[in-house]
Subunit: 132 residues, 4 copies
């Protein structure tokens, strides 16, 4: 994704981007895709009844990741308090979803990959929070 | 919106709905619409340059409201910690967006109505938080 | 939702709103909520394995309804060709999701209510298309 | 993004992925980010009043891209008619947004990069349509 190039071209940014926040944006979109995909794959598994909580957390995590990545993309004016709360909510959503996916990682490859995406996004959001 | 009927028909809910959470869902969708509309109307105003911060907060608020309303709709399994963080983030997003819209309420009817939607959603999210 | 008031306050609209398009916006948000709720309730049903296609169509329909309602809210500048294609895609998404929900309406109240929301949104999008 | 790995791990896909559809998913998320970023950067430009139509098309394009990428991610059950309509709507949204961004590409680097993202997404959606 051209996230860094785009943000660097913002008239109020002029090249001095917050790298950690950019990384959180990219990780957020990637995690939204992974969670949407994992919810969908879990739904097709024979043991779907045992994957209900995983699907629920996947769907919630996808929604939170997308909203967080979208907000963290914007640089006009400011809305730091809300971005911080969203980065924090996203850290929690990813931690819980990743932990649930981990339980099924041995049996379902999509859960294993999704758990990795969640951990990456959780770390990226935490690092971004540390810069604000 | 048929929010209450829908949630009441969930197999794990069986009629015993959390009214405050239902109200937050409805207020969230309504506030997302109002904020999307206010951002769009501000953009068309002659004094758009002075409404940049209002547009920014409107766009962010719409995203947070939609994600919050979507999460608060789900009842399968559980994800209370994340819903609480989203309700809290939504309270903040609505408070800040409503305060900014209020500044332009005397001049722009869309800002006046949007500020009302934000206050209603802020109060609904706070009330829902109080029940969890 | 204050949709009509908001759009009527847009500086380029000045009170002369397209009522059919406003109705499509409201029906779109309501249907997104109903479909999100129905997907979630289906997932909690004991017979979840037989409701996979219903959940899939619900999730898709919710996404298309939200995007359509958001686009149809905007009045600054113009983007009629895209709105028409989205209204058309939304008509199809609602028709197919409503038909699938109808199959389960006798057994699941959430499917019955969701099918109604889909039909209402399908009709509203078709009527809006007729005005553009 | 781990899109291809995730879809390849879906129980009904078992490794035989539609590469063109995967490419459309990745291009859709990337274009949503670019358009969100371009709308935000345009809003901060001194000549914002002349960028209204660009911002409008950016916001619409971001919404259509996200919905399309999300739908095109799912493989459980089927919903081909709706995916085709969304890929078609996304092709149009990207074509129009890219053409508008191109007009400002000489003056604004963010419009130049965004136009590229739009063209890439338009081509990816068209290629995916050709396989369905």
């Amino acid at each position: 994704m051209p996230t860094e190039q785009m943000v660097a071209a913002h008239p109020d940014v002029r090249g001095s981007v917050n790298e950690a926040l950019i990384a959180a944006v990219d990780a957020g979109y990637a995690c939204a895709q992974a969670c949407t995909s994992c919810a969908d794959a879990c739904l097709a598994e024979q043991m779907v009844a045992e994957l209900r909580q995983c699907i629920r957390l996947n769907l919630d995590c996808a929604d939170v990741c997308l909203a967080t990545a979208t907000l963290a993309t914007r640089r006009t004016g400011s809305n730091e308090e809300v971005i911080r709360k969203m980065l924090d909510a996203c850290t929690t959503a990813c931690r819980l979803c990743g932990a649930e996916c981990d339980k099924h990682a041995g049996m379902h490859e999509h859960c294993r990959i999704c758990a990795e995406s969640c951990r990456r996004c959780e770390a990226a959001c935490r690092a971004a929070l540390g810069t604000m």
